[in-house]
Symmetry: C2
Subunit: 173 residues, 2 copies
């Protein structure tokens, strides 16, 4: 299905979210050191790459945002993504929109409410992250690097889309 | 439910999409003249206000974007929105993500594919659009103003959220 505008940032990151234990120390250790210590400034204002809805345990509405390098490459379909690309995945809990229910007579509108499942990033540096396909992976929970989503776990799932430079999402026109 | 991060741009616009007939001439006439003749330059790169999923006849995944004035007001919860605010609603058809199905063993990821239900805008000018709550409404189909979504139809539904300056959506943090 070539026309798919695939929006999920993270198969591996999803797996990490579902199945990973937090180390007893609460610290990320060794080669799992976070690729960033702070949220990228202004990331919430980055342009939108795509949107998605996740069922199952994740059960959220989500958006994929990209920095300038990312949005340019995503829009053009450039592969591999250039170094400097940063892709962000935001997700929210969702609920029926009461006002819409009034208007339509049934709950047909479901809207994002509160942040959920962390904020996840893929950072491209072909040399630095050569062992994980050229991408560094990180999740932030409450603004701080999480110990849950580790590069190796993320990468394991992202290999599913190796032919797309390990990126699940595609630009939603 | 005060915590709702309500994302739908358009109750009225939705109604317009579902129920409106195109005039025989194919032109928008009289007080239904379009508030813009062309898509606002760069609107696709505007920051994200919120995301939503619409069931029923609309059946889409959608994103609400805002120009600089809109995003600032939405983030701060400023009401009424200042003149110059432009809010955009984009929507897409969606499908299960095949690669995710492989990874999880079931279709749990649904991703935006092709544009659907037009691109809709609310434009704030308290004086110019005084008769419709200070907002002009317009839909673009294939890059051209649509004759379907007319100000009066949009406004009729947006009165449901008069207390929020006629805006359904709220900023998704």
């Amino acid at each position: 299905m070539k026309q798919f505008v695939v929006v999920l940032c993270a198969g591996g990151l999803l797996t990490g979210l579902i199945g990973y234990d937090t180390p007893a120390s609460g610290q990320v250790a060794g080669d799992n050191a976070p690729v960033m210590l702070e949220l990228p400034p202004g990331y919430r204002d980055w342009p939108l790459i795509a949107v998605a809805h996740e069922e199952g345990k994740l059960n959220d509405l989500r958006a994929i945002l990209g920095n300038e390098i990312a949005i340019k490459a995503a829009r053009a379909g450039t592969l591999p993504y250039p170094d400097g690309t940063i892709i962000a995945r935001l997700a929210w809990d969702y609920h029926p929109l009461e006002e819409s229910k009034e208007a339509f007579g049934n709950a047909q509108s479901f809207v994002a409410v509160t942040p959920k499942n962390g904020v996840q990033f893929m950072v491209k540096d072909a040399r630095k992250y050569a062992s994980t396909g050229g991408w560094g992976y990180i999740e932030f929970d409450d603004g701080k690097p999480s110990s849950k989503a580790m590069p190796s776990a993320c990468f394991a799932c992202h290999t599913t889309v190796k032919s797309r430079d390990f990126v699940f999402n595609r630009y939603a026109p």
